[in-house]
């Protein structure tokens, strides 16, 4: 925690306050208020310095052009953004990222909700064991699991052997060498890694639902599906919005899987926007202005989708 020295200094500087409540109360209140602000200060400063300031700098960079250290204002200023419109690789990486988002996030959230409901059943046996097994993938890093999946989906790997073994396939499939199968493997990987994570959030939300509201629905004669749809679901809405925002935010920033699982290939067909941004900014012939323009597209996508989600979550309440 905070160093002992800092703590002692803090405690010593304002003398302990023994003023009874009838005394000059305002000054104590004001001092406490200041203490409260002091508690927030380190966190607020760090977030300003490492999130907000660079966010503004990235925008300035996106209006600049030039290689290496020689940067100057672009002519016209929005040149980088205009270039994005004609960049086929950028369009492809954007398509890939949005594709992962649209396919994977809904499937994952529905699966997570179904699993959470099953695990919340008081009559279910071995609850802790199920939860541990389904949550376990979250303990593994994105790069680690990507490499495990890369090994399993290799042309001479386990998945092909298993599928040929049970007669579903005649020839081994080059999963990571074909655009659509490579994207499919990334989606399977994302489902594997994140479903249990979202399940824990839903499970926590379910445990906070007042059992009497479910009891009331049962007395009114609602079946288990109707109870879920009309009583449980509305109470889960804030959690659906939160997990939705976190998942969308995460998918739009997808990098590790693209880097380690498919290496973005074949020929950019599974590469994510962040991966392309990294290549432009830090590999070969860095172009930070153009890469910053891409970073702003990601930022705007995250902001717009989060805003829509929050509005949708509010209106239905």
């Amino acid at each position: 925690m905070t160093s002992d020295g800092a703590r002692r200094r803090r405690r010593d500087s304002p003398p302990p306050d023994f003023t009874p409540r009838t005394g000059p109360w305002l000054s104590t209140a004001r001092r406490r208020n200041l203490t409260g602000w002091g508690f927030l200060l380190p966190a607020a400063l760090l977030i300003t310095l490492f999130s907000f300031v660079p966010m503004i700098q990235a925008f300035v960079l996106a209006l600049q052009t030039g290689r290496g250290a020689r940067l100057g204002w672009a002519e016209p200023l929005w040149m980088n953004f205009e270039r994005l419109l004609h960049d086929e690789i950028f369009k492809l990486t954007m398509f890939n990222t949005v594709f992962y988002l649209v396919i994977q996030v809904p499937i994952m959230l529905i699966l997570a909700m179904v699993l959470a409901n099953l695990l919340n059943d008081p009559k279910l046996r071995f609850k802790a064991a199920w939860r541990t097994m389904i949550f376990l993938p979250c303990a593994v890093s994105l790069v680690s699991y990507s490499l495990v999946f890369r090994t399993m989906f290799a042309t001479d790997g386990l998945v092909n052997d298993a599928l040929m073994g049970i007669g579903l396939m005649q020839e081994p499939l080059n999963w990571l060498g074909e655009p659509w199968t490579a994207r499919f493997v990334i989606i399977i990987g994302l489902l594997w890694r994140w479903t249990g994570y979202n399940m824990i959030f839903f499970l926590a939300a379910l445990q906070n639902i007042d059992p009497s509201s479910l009891e009331a629905a049962r007395i009114d004669g609602a079946g288990s599906f109707k109870t879920f749809w009309y009583v449980t679901m509305p109470q889960l809405r804030p959690m659906i919005v939160l997990t939705g925002i976190l998942s969308i935010n995460g998918t739009l920033q997808l990098f590790d899987e693209s880097w380690a699982l498919t290496k973005g290939g074949p020929a950019y067909t599974s590469m994510s926007m962040s991966h392309y941004l990294y290549e432009l900014a830090f590999l070969k012939n860095p172009n930070v202005g153009y890469a910053s323009a891409i970073s702003y597209v990601i930022l705007i996508l995250v902001a717009v989708l989060a805003f829509i989600q929050m509005r949708a979550g509010d209106r239905r309440d």
């Binding site: 097994m133 090994t151 824990i200 990601i298």
Partner: protein, 276 residues
């Protein structure tokens, strides 16, 4: 719970639930089993889809040590993960507590701004951050990995929400007893909120141990590379030695899996406490 047998009449109706759970649990655990087993097999065995433990663990270990400086990578990863966790818990717990205990209107605005920071994707700040750390000569420095990760909106939110259940009367009582504001935090709040701290520690340790993109950007020298960077490098050549790769992946995953098992109950409790 486990002692109670389901009523006979309903037991068959519940079979599909158990089947669904079993299939999903198998899907969750199998890749990890594959990783564990493959670490003990030769590349030929891995490609022959052998699913039983083999005798090549030591060969794989020897090959791994010969190819890569595992010790240095483990050290870098440990320094980053432990350093980030300790500092992040200190800064974010104090901030979350400050938001909830010393309430005023102005703080709600600050909180909203901090939540806004949660929406900023790291990709959008990465290039300026690299330029900042390059300017102050911190390329290849582990500090450059730790510092931007200390203050995270999610942790502040977690501590703020959990502080709601912390009884304010205790604070008043402690003030009457003459304890200073920071002592109240350190001596009363911290011991009471153990499960929140455990949850926060698990999240932070795992995220920082597993972090890949930012270390990849700022740590250019292989002498300071982290474990995720090391395993990613193992597939860079023309031929991948799968047995060695799976052993390295296993070594990279062991610390976070251990932390997970030690603290998983506290983690679930901490999340539950946070959203009450």
């Amino acid at each position: 719970m486990m002692m109670r047998a389901p009523r006979r009449r309903t037991s068959w109706r519940r079979a599909p639930r158990y089947a669904f759970l079993s299939v999903f649990a198998l899907f969750s655990v199998f890749p990890l089993y594959f990783m564990l087993v493959s670490a003990t097999n030769s590349t030929q065995d891995v490609l022959a889809s052998r699913l039983t433990p083999g005798g090549h663990l030591l060969d794989n270990a020897a090959a791994l040590v010969a190819q890569q400086d595992i010790g240095a990578a483990m050290t870098s990863s440990s320094v980053i993960a432990i350093g980030t966790t300790v500092l992040a818990l200190a800064v974010c717990a104090v901030a979350g507590y400050g938001f909830e205990i010393y309430h005023s209107r102005g703080k709600d605005i600050v909180m909203a701004i901090i939540m806004l920071a949660m929406m900023i994707p790291f990709a959008a700040v990465m290039i300026p951050l690299f330029r900042l750390f390059a300017r102050v000569g911190m390329v290849n420095s582990l500090g450059a990995v730790i510092i931007p990760a200390i203050s995270t909106p999610l942790l502040i939110l977690l501590f703020r929400q959990s502080s709601r259940s912390f009884p304010h009367e205790i604070i008043e009582a402690a003030r009457i007893d003459g304890l200073g504001e920071l002592s109240i935090f350190a001596r009363i709040y911290v011991p009471t909120m153990k499960s929140t701290f455990a949850a926060a520690a698990v999240i932070t340790f795992m995220t920082s141990w597993n972090n890949f993109l930012w270390p990849r950007v700022i740590l250019l020298d292989n002498a300071v590379q982290t474990m995720p960077m090391l395993i990613a490098n193992l597939t860079a050549g023309y031929v991948t030695d799968y047995g060695v790769l799976m052993l390295a992946v296993l070594l990279t995953s062991l610390p976070t899996i251990l932390v997970f098992f030690i603290l998983q109950r506290a983690f679930a409790q901490g999340i539950t406490g946070a959203i009450k």
